[in-house]
């Protein structure tokens, strides 16, 4: 066995597949909690693409960018879930289609 590491293209293909599944969930779901979960899946797939590219060139930049992405994902989850709790407290629902109180 000459190559112990997987091909970076295969890792990129895995990231693309995960990203597409997260996108499908983001578009199809109406429960806001599930929408945020799909968003996390998509961010994680982007991070996988970063680490795979960093591995391909044997540089640390991909991992550094993944750490920055981790901070972004943490903030996004915290603020998004805070908004979900706020919406649930106001209108007793987490269904994004029934949030139409701005409609005239």
């Amino acid at each position: 066995m000459s190559f112990s590491f997987p091909l970076p293209e295969h890792a990129l293909l895995l990231a693309a597949l995960l990203f597409a599944m997260g996108l499908a969930g983001l578009l199809a779901r109406r429960n806001i909690v599930f929408v945020l979960m799909s968003l996390e899946v998509m961010l994680n797939a982007a991070g996988l693409a970063l680490v795979a590219s960093g591995h391909k060139w044997a540089q640390a930049d991909g991992q550094v960018l993944f750490i920055v992405l981790l901070a972004v994902a943490g903030c996004e989850a915290a603020v998004g879930l805070g908004l979900v709790m706020r919406i649930h407290r106001r209108s007793r629902t987490v269904d994004s289609d029934s949030l139409d109180s701005l409609k005239g």
């Binding site: 890792a11 499908a24 199809a28 920055v68 981790l70 989850a77 603020v79």
Partner: protein, 198 residues
């Protein structure tokens, strides 16, 4: 080392794809979160096989440890019980998935096309001063390929070297995120919550 890394990569990749599919399609929120946690742990294994042990540990600690637990706490506080599961099932019948699945299949095919066509171009460009993966493969220098792991020391050195501004900016971002999450999710005492007309 050797073939077991490849076995771990493809095995963990398959687990990640399956668990993510289940996480995205489940109706019960806690089940979906458990599948999401499984998927994140599998991706941590993928990171390890990609020669990034530091990022694999961060994935377990921050994603599976902190973010999923945050989701679990919110689901518990919202009390999304069995009644919402039935409602969720009725909200997402299979036909709802047709449009999103078609759109994301389009995105996926574009991404796959870009990945498969750009690899030849990237190996031809041979970015300056950087030995590419294909150059290493062509040179048949197995020791160099075996040692392609990027150790945490390098990551830390570039975090506090050329990427110092990014570290400072993410600390500002985390502070802003913390303050706004605290402010948004705070329970109003004085004005009270107005019930919105349903």
């Amino acid at each position: 080392m050797g073939e077991d890394m490849l076995v771990a990569f493809y095995g963990a990749g398959a687990v990640a794809v399956l668990a993510t599919f289940l996480a995205v399609t489940r109706a019960q929120p806690v089940h979906a979160l458990l599948y999401l946690g499984t998927s994140l742990l599998a991706i941590a294994v993928v990171f390890y096989t990609l020669g990034a042990p530091f990022v694999a540990a961060l994935e377990v600690v921050v994603y599976a440890g902190a973010i999923v637990v945050l989701f679990v706490f919110v689901v518990m506080m919202l009390n999304l019980g069995t009644s919402t599961t039935a409602a969720e099932r009725s909200l997402t019948p299979p036909r709802v998935w047709i449009g999103p699945a078609a759109l994301s299949a389009l995105v996926l095919s574009l991404l796959v096309f870009a990945i498969l066509t750009s690899q030849t171009r990237a190996s031809a460009v041979q970015i300056a001063n950087r030995k590419s993966y294909f150059a290493l493969r062509a040179s048949k220098d197995e020791s160099q390929i075996e040692n392609q792991e990027v150790p945490p020391r390098d990551v830390g050195a570039s975090l506090y070297g050329p990427y110092f501004v990014a570290v400072e900016l993410s600390s500002v971002l985390l502070l802003a995120g913390m303050l706004s999450a605290w402010r948004i999710a705070r329970r109003e005492r004085t004005s009270g919550t107005q019930e919105v007309r349903k």
